[in-house]
């Protein structure tokens, strides 16, 4: 019961604690994941805005510087070193990209393409966007193309009309710098030339065919085995600025939160289980104690009591239990006393009855002798009456003596000395003892194999069996069948003694084990009481089954070890 209560309490705690925790964890995780994703999208948008803002700032600065160059160019004295002119001007105005182009479209001088003087300019353009150009630049031993944001202004050089273009490169270096500032991977997709402008280590370079349309785009893409969230904005229809953030960061954060949440849930579960175990123990302990003490009470121990914690229902129950056991103890004391008194009264009545029977003939015999002595001429009859009367007195004195001896013997029944006793041997011994008295009675013996031993007092056990066998034989004076059966049962043995005598009616059955109650002429009525006493001392029990005309069967239940039995229930009478 206790295990069941604790288990139910544990289950109740877990059911109450865990599902809400799990739901809370799932909800928190989902909310945080969404929050991180939103935060990631915001970072992407901010990075794009920052990059575009920086480009615009560069553009504004370029416009200011190019205005200045265009203004001062006409006033320069003729320069014989035209190819290096843009280099010098660009250094002075901090314009990394600067070129002076003739009206015919030939490069007069270029800072970033020093080797390109006198060659036709071959800048790549973006339709509709005058500010962005793909400039040819000298790089290493060859040349390359770099995207630049350029401002253009007309001017004159040595009297000839020219266009001054200057600006800053929007190249891998610029994007690497912006990426470092924003913490987001930035890249430019030139859809016209089908190429990426990005730092060499950028994962965007692995994105072969980005699907970008409209004015902005966002989504997720797998690059180099890593998932990225990206956002992109079109600088012009052919040039997109793309920002990407590895999902790994978001997933890592989400995973971290999820892990923490589940760890918290697991810890809470463990805590709930521990609490459940502790609390259920605290709740179940008094109940268990109550059950234990109830069993003691049921076993006949009136001193059971439980601690009563104050304040709660269990305490109230404990207090009620204690009150009940106290009342029970009192009632039992009174009952015992009453029973004791009743038993003494019954015994005194029986004893008086038994003693009175022999006393009457004694008295009668003495009175007869006195009358005979006192009557005139009665002296001759006195001698004849004296022997007869004295015989009667001696017989009755003998009965009295026997009654007193049996009474004494019943009163001083010894305490059993328990030792392992072979049950089958005892039964054989008893049957052998009464074989001679079973003149016309058939004795049937059924001893089951494996009876083994029981801890018992051999002599008392033999006496009890002997009393039962003797009663059975006395119930069949002419003929009949005496059946003695022994078999293992219930962690002990059961010995049955059955006769085919006249049987007992209901009243006889109820008074069967009452001392001095007998149905036999000349019986003391103590035999079965003695048997009951012996069986009780061995922590066993005795049952009687009988009906008129159907004989009587006595069953003895003896435990293997009387010490293992807390208390033996009182004898039960089972109906036939």
């Amino acid at each position: 019961m206790t295990g069941g209560l604790r288990g139910r309490l544990l289950a109740a705690f877990v059911l109450v604690a865990v599902p809400p925790l799990l739901l809370l964890t799932a909800a928190v995780t989902a909310l945080l994941a969404r929050s991180f994703a939103q935060s990631g999208d915001e970072r992407l948008r901010d990075a794009l805005a920052a990059a575009l803002g920086q480009v615009d700032r560069q553009m504004k600065r370029a416009e200011a510087e190019v205005d200045s160059v265009a203004a001062e160019l006409p006033d320069r004295r003729p320069d014989t070193d035209l190819p290096h002119l843009a280099l010098r001007i660009g250094q002075n105005h901090a314009l990394p990209a600067l070129e002076i182009v003739s009206a015919a479209g030939r490069v007069v001088s270029s800072r970033h393409w020093l080797a390109g003087f006198n060659l036709s300019e071959q800048d790549g353009l973006f339709p509709g966007d005058e500010t962005l150009r793909v400039e040819r630049v000298g790089e290493g031993y060859g040349e390359a193309e770099r995207l630049a944001v350029m401002a253009s202004r007309p001017s004159t050089l040595n009297g000839d009309p020219v266009v001054v273009r200057g600006g800053t490169f929007i190249d891998a270096e610029f994007l690497a710098e912006m990426s470092g500032l924003t913490g987001v991977r930035l890249g430019l997709r030139d859809r016209r030339r089908q190429r990426w402008i990005a730092p060499p280590s950028s994962p965007l370079l692995a994105w072969s065919e980005p699907a970008l349309s409209g004015q902005d785009a966002r989504g997720e893409v797998a690059l180099g085995g890593t998932a990225y969230r990206f956002a992109a904005v079109a600088r012009n229809p052919d040039l997109w600025l793309v920002a990407a953030l590895p999902r790994g960061e978001l997933d890592r954060l989400t995973g971290l939160v999820r892990g923490l949440a589940f760890a918290f849930a697991a810890a809470a579960l463990v805590g709930a289980v521990l609490a459940a175990v502790l609390l259920s123990g605290r709740i179940a302990r008094p109940v268990r104690e109550l059950a234990e003490q109830s069993r003691r009470v049921a076993a006949g121990d009136p001193g059971a009591a439980v601690a009563a914690p104050a304040g709660d229902e269990v305490g109230e129950l404990a207090r009620a239990f204690n009150a009940m056991t106290a009342e029970l103890r009192t009632s039992r004391e009174r009952l015992l006393q009453t029973e004791r008194v009743a038993a003494w009264r019954e015994m005194a009545r029986r004893l008086a009855h038994e003693l009175k029977n022999p006393l009457f003939p004694i008295q009668l015999s003495i009175e007869t002798l006195r009358r005979a002595w006192d009557e005139p001429g009665g002296r001759e009859r006195f001698a004849a009456l004296f022997r007869e009367s004295s015989d009667t007195v001696l017989d009755e004195l003998q009965s009295l003596r026997r009654i007193i001896e049996e009474f004494s013997e019943f009163a001083r029944m010894p305490r059993p000395e328990l030792k392992p006793v072979d049950v089958a041997a005892v039964v054989e011994q008893v049957l052998a003892l009464y074989q001679a008295r079973a003149a016309g009675v058939r004795i049937e013996k059924d001893l089951a194999p494996g009876l083994g031993t029981v801890r018992a007092d051999r002599a008392l056990l033999a006496r009890a069996l002997g009393n039962l066998v003797a009663n059975a034989l006395e119930a069949m004076p002419e003929d009949g069948t005496l059946r003695v059966r022994a078999a293992p049962a219930e962690d002990g043995v059961v010995i049955e003694v059955a006769d085919t005598g006249p049987g007992l009616d209901a009243e006889q059955r109820t008074r069967l084990f009452t001392p001095y109650y007998t149905t036999k002429k000349g019986g003391t009525g103590l035999g079965l009481a003695i048997v009951q006493g012996i069986v009780s001392d061995h922590a066993g029990r005795i049952e009687a089954r009988s009906a008129p005309g159907e004989g009587t069967t006595f069953s003895l239940y003896l435990p293997r070890d009387p010490a293992s039995v807390v208390s033996s229930p009182p004898v039960r009478e089972r109906p036939a």
């Binding site: 020093l114 080797a115 006198n118 290493g140 060859g142 040349e143």
Partner: protein
């Protein structure tokens, strides 16, 4: 009286001043020079390895039989002089009294052994010499040890016999690979090499027994310049005293040369090659991007032949396709960018492949851009060396052979001009500019020079104390 004496003394002082000053500041013995080079030779033995480092070490540690004078003609070196016989087919060289670094005298046998070694080297000049010397081709090809065209009549003379009377047959002996070494490998140059740190530095000490006299410097240390190092800062810091760079001592000794591969498209058509030649304006290149250069005479060997304006004018055109271009690392990047820009303007898509000077000629690319200097700065030999890089037409080959066989100097020069023009007209070799080879020196370094071949000469260099 006193005033007159004072004036006379002042005049004397003024007259003698320069002499005194010269005596005070003129060449002096002693001192040490550290020379930075981009690459060190793999070995100290004379070989045909090209490169600034290899050329410098060869000049410092070895001596050849024959040198080249400022006019580009063979000049005596270890050989005191020579005479011809048998109608110009037999040349006898007389040796000077000279010694190797180990003290052994330089003998004709050493010279002959060195010539035999030279003939079997990978040097182009050696191949050229072997073609002319009796039995030289077979000897060079390893078909025997017999070399009928080389004789040693005595300890001071060696005789070279040629199958035909060649023009300037001794020029190949001016190659560094032809340096004369002793039996144990000792050189006879002005400096004695000490134990080198392979690939990193080499120290050489003055050789008092040099045939030209003890050099002024006590010691020369040749060190490798770290990649990306700045020569001006290295010199300013005192880590080196001389290194390639400018401004400094220089000579127009190199040709910025574009070589097109006629066996691979798009340069398999002469018209395409001509369009490339027409597209690249060497004048602009030199004027604006190669300080000190000269592009007015578009000659393959402008330092060795005076300009005459011969040759065809290339016709402009358009060339499409893709081409790889190997660029030697000693070409100024801006110059190569200019070349690439021109090629791109033509319509070509160019992929640049940077190469070392030692490997650029062997690069398997459509074209090569390099700073070319001849192995021997003699016009005929230089043109022959250039022609060997291509497969000239029979007519051009014939023109060149005739020029090389010409013994008369004036006619020889004229023929060389025609051969050079013919070679250029095939548009496989496209000279872009004559480029100075410069060496920057720290203040206080004097006497260093650059020879016709662009090699640094330190034989007469000295340093101020």
């Amino acid at each position: 009286m006193r005033r007159r004496a004072l004036c006379a003394a002042t005049a004397a002082l003024a007259a003698l001043g320069p002499l005194l000053l010269h005596a005070a500041l003129g060449p002096r013995y002693g001192g040490e020079l550290r020379v930075g080079v981009p690459d060190m030779p793999a070995a100290l033995e004379p070989g045909s390895e090209r490169g600034i480092g290899a050329g410098l070490v060869a000049m410092l540690a070895h001596e050849t039989l024959v040198g080249v004078d400022e006019a580009g003609f063979p000049a005596p070196a270890l050989a005191q002089g020579w005479s011809t016989a048998a109608g110009g087919r037999e040349w006898t060289l007389r040796l000077r009294d000279a010694a190797f670094h180990d003290g052994r005298p330089v003998s004709a046998a050493d010279a002959a052994r060195s010539i035999r070694r030279f003939l079997r080297s990978s040097s182009f000049a050696a191949a050229r010499l072997a073609e002319g010397v009796d039995g030289g081709a077979a000897f060079r090809a390893g078909r025997g040890e017999e070399l009928a065209g080389l004789a040693v009549p005595d300890a001071k003379r060696i005789v070279l016999r040629f199958a035909q009377a060649p023009g300037l047959p001794l020029a190949p002996l001016a190659a560094t690979a032809a340096a004369v070494t002793g039996p144990a490998g000792a050189g006879a140059g002005p400096f004695v090499p000490a134990a080198p740190v392979p690939g990193r530095r080499l120290a050489l000490t003055a050789f008092a027994g040099h045939v030209g006299g003890r050099p002024y410097l006590d010691r020369v240390e040749v060190v490798t310049l770290p990649d990306g190092s700045s020569v001006p800062s290295e010199i300013a810091s005192g880590r080196i005293d001389v290194a390639p760079g400018e401004p400094g001592i220089s000579r127009l000794a190199a040709t910025l040369l574009l070589i097109l591969d006629p066996s691979r498209p798009p340069f398999d058509r002469p018209a395409a090659r001509a369009a490339v030649a027409a597209a690249i304006d060497g004048g602009d290149l030199v004027r604006h991007l190669i300080p000190g250069g000269d592009a007015a005479p578009a000659l393959l060997v402008p330092a060795l032949l005076p300009p005459l304006g011969l040759g065809e004018t290339p016709i402009a055109g358009r060339v499409t396709g893709t081409a790889t271009l190997a660029v030697s690392l000693d070409v100024p990047p801006v110059a190569s960018q200019r070349v690439v820009a021109h090629l791109t303007t033509l319509g070509l898509r160019v992929a640049v492949v940077p190469s070392s000077p030692a490997t650029v000629l062997a690069a398997p690319t459509h074209a090569r851009l390099l700073m070319w200097t001849p192995e021997v700065p003699e016009a005929g030999l230089a043109l022959a060396e250039l022609a060997a890089l291509t497969h000239p037409s029979p007519a051009t080959r014939e023109e060149l052979t005739a020029a090389l066989d010409e013994t008369d100097p004036a006619r020889r020069r004229a023929r060389l001009h025609r051969a050079e023009a013919a070679l250029r007209s095939e548009w496989v070799l496209v000279p872009l500019a004559s480029v100075p080879v410069s060496y920057r020196t720290r203040p206080g370094v004097h006497g260093a020079a650059v020879d016709l071949g662009g090699r640094l000469v330190l034989e007469d260099a000295w340093v101020e104390p």
